[in-house]
């Protein structure tokens, strides 16, 4: 069932009605918690417009005539919003969770990552960890910047925090494991930003 979503990868949907139709099908196919008592309405065009206005779905840049062309990322955004709504998260929190997420991350949030996808993914991930060829002798921990000459197949995603400020996130980046680590990461980020200003 979940694999139905993955099949949509790379597809485009011309116009809001088409996008609403496909996503509607998937919402009921995925039974986003409907079975267990939560009412989840199938997204109609009006709901999708609302999501677009609220920034929950990224506004498509591509157009065919006057019709917007929606893509797989938009679809994942919509499905994830539906799923999180079914979990009763407030819109503000949902926006935080969905905004700027890559296809991969949204697939994970949705819980539709197929195991075959995971397979190569785990391997690629580990290979990327070995990438900066370990220099044999035990070296003192040098605080040198990561000097990857990027031979490895990483993709980068740009996430806009606010106008003029972007984060670049490598595809194999794993977010901090604990709230404590998140906090220390934020502190480091703030520190770096302050240095720019001074």
């Amino acid at each position: 069932m979940a694999i139905g979503v993955l099949k949509e990868k790379g597809r485009k949907y011309v116009g809001l009605p088409e996008f609403a139709r496909v996503s509607g099908q998937l919402v009921s196919e995925l039974q986003l918690e409907q079975q267990r008592g939560t009412v989840t309405s199938v997204p109609d065009e009006r709901t999708i417009r609302y999501y677009l206005a609220e920034g929950l779905i990224q506004t498509p840049e591509e157009k065919q005539g006057t019709a917007s062309v929606f893509n797989y990322l938009n679809l994942l955004q919509l499905l994830t919003v539906k799923k999180l709504q079914a979990e009763h998260l407030p819109i503000r929190k949902i926006r935080e969770l969905v905004a700027g997420k890559s296809e991969q991350e949204l697939e994970t949030l949705l819980g539709v990552r197929g195991p075959s996808g995971k397979n190569t993914e785990a391997k690629r991930y580990l290979e990327s960890l070995l990438a900066p060829a370990p220099s044999a002798p035990p070296t003192e921990t040098v605080a040198a910047p990561p000097q990857q000459l990027d031979a490895s197949p990483h993709s980068w995603q740009r996430v806009e925090i606010e106008p003029g400020l972007e984060l670049h996130v490598r595809s194999d980046y794993a977010p901090p494991a604990t709230t404590g680590k998140t906090r220390s990461l934020l502190e480091r980020a703030i520190h770096r930003l302050r240095r720019l200003r001074d």
Partner: protein, 426 residues
């Protein structure tokens, strides 16, 4: 599909009416026992297939008893596995060697012969060895089985990547991609602040082998745990009813991205205890009230998609006399006390790190008295006796500076098991 059972207990079945109070709530999750019933799960063989990599430290410090026991334990592991499972062994010191890549466990003797030849030498390239072990697993990923690296070491990562944060983050990254990591630390000289978080964020278990003799027992428990794994990626949200507030969750869980409590893997048939403290307002005698809603999210081992189990718990209010004459639930008292003791152990560890040994001893001393007082009416229960003995023993060993490293590890692992497995015994 058979769902886990979620039970909610309070110290007494009813709450006293007419006053505001803090209530200890024990939430017990019991996954169904392993079943061989094919009618409900046609593809189920009784246990998941295993795809394991043993990553074995052979650095100089392993020499002697530790190396012998580690080899024995690895061979024991081979014996316990089925031909439908896969195993690889990676050994490491400053060099990393794939002793054999991931293979079905069909020729057990050949595997054991190779393991028997591993001897101790060199320093500790822990990180790269872990990555290599992960690679052998990831090349043969099992869709519905368990893909796991078991890292066995007695030392500190001193070659290659050595940053704890980096390794722990990577362990989580690998788990998110389907391969979990367990760690087995031997003796007193490894880094518990690396191995415990590595297993916790890596979706596996952390074990401490105090004496080389314990190794086989630990291996057995790890294997049994793998075989009995019922679900992974487990999370819980607690939503108190209006007017009720969560004061504390004593297990000190990490939070998930969506703000839920991140729980350990669920083991078939073994209950897992969570204690929350709720602040409840004054209610009238005889009134019934919803206390909280629970949502347990988990991915069953033989399924691809996450499941969500929802449950609500209501409670009745009664007069003071009725409540005082009702039976006390010892399980709630014990669960609260043991989790408080886990915190005491972490606190003692902090004081140790700050050089305040007397303070650490005092913290454990008061935990011991508190346990004796709280559990007085069921003091003969084996778990209580064991807990008191453990607190006493660690408190004693704090007097000896030569035992510091071992004392700290005992504190760390005892706190960890109480908060994440609900069991005392590793």
């Amino acid at each position: 599909m058979e769902y886990p059972k979620v039970e909610v207990f309070t110290t007494r079945a009813k709450l006293e009416a007419g006053r505001e109070q803090t209530v200890d709530v024990l939430i017990r999750i019991t996954p169904p026992a392993l079943s061989l019933d094919h009618s409900t799960r046609p593809n189920w063989k009784g246990r998941p297939d295993l795809n394991l990599s043993l990553v074995l430290d052979r650095s100089g410090s392993m020499e002697g008893e530790k190396m012998i026991r580690a080899r024995d334990a690895a061979m024991f592991c081979v014996d316990q596995m089925l031909p439908s499972d896969r195993l690889s062994v990676v050994t490491f010191d400053d060099r990393i060697e794939v002793l054999f890549p991931s293979e079905p466990v069909t020729n057990k003797q050949a595997m054991k012969d190779l393991i028997a030849r591993v001897t101790a030498r060199g320093s500790t390239a822990l990180h790269e060895a872990w990555v290599r072990g992960g690679l052998t697993v990831s090349e043969r990923m099992l869709d519905q089985g368990i893909n796991r690296v078991v890292l066995i070491t007695d030392g500190l990562a001193n070659v290659g990547v050595t940053s704890t944060d980096e390794i722990v983050t990577q362990s989580m990254g690998l788990f998110q991609r389907g391969v979990s990591t367990s760690t087995i630390g031997i003796g007193a000289d490894f880094n518990e602040d690396l191995l415990m978080p590595m297993a916790q964020s890596g979706g596996g278990n952390a074990w401490h082998v105090v004496e080389p003799d314990d190794m086989q027992h630990i291996f057995q428990t790890e294997l049994e745990g793998l075989i009995a794994q019922y679900a992974h990626t487990v999370s819980l949200s607690l939503i108190p009813a209006d007017g009720i507030r969560i004061v504390d969750v004593l297990n000190d869980f990490d939070l998930t991205e969506t703000g839920r409590y991140r729980l350990p893997n669920l083991q078939a048939g073994s209950p897992f205890d969570i204690v929350a403290q709720l602040r409840v307002g004054a209610e009238e005698i005889g009134s019934q009230m919803r206390l909280l809603d629970l949502r347990l999210g988990f991915t069953p081992q033989d399924a691809k998609q996450a499941e969500v189990l929802k449950q609500a718990h209501t409670i009745e209010f009664a007069s003071q006399t009725v409540v005082e004459n009702s039976t006390v639930n010892d399980e709630v008292i014990k669960a609260v006390q043991f989790l408080m003791n886990a915190r005491a152990r972490n606190e003692a560890m902090k004081r140790m790190d700050a050089g305040d040994y007397a303070g650490a001893e005092a913290v454990l001393g008061s935990a011991l008295s508190a346990t004796r007082a709280a559990c007085a009416s069921f003091a003969a229960m084996p778990a209580v006796m064991e807990e008191c003995a453990s607190l006493q023993e660690t408190s004693m060993s704090l007097k000896d500076r030569l035992k510091d490293k071992m004392s700290r590890k005992k504190l760390a692992y005892a706190a960890y098991t109480r908060q994440t497995t609900g069991k005392l015994d590793q």
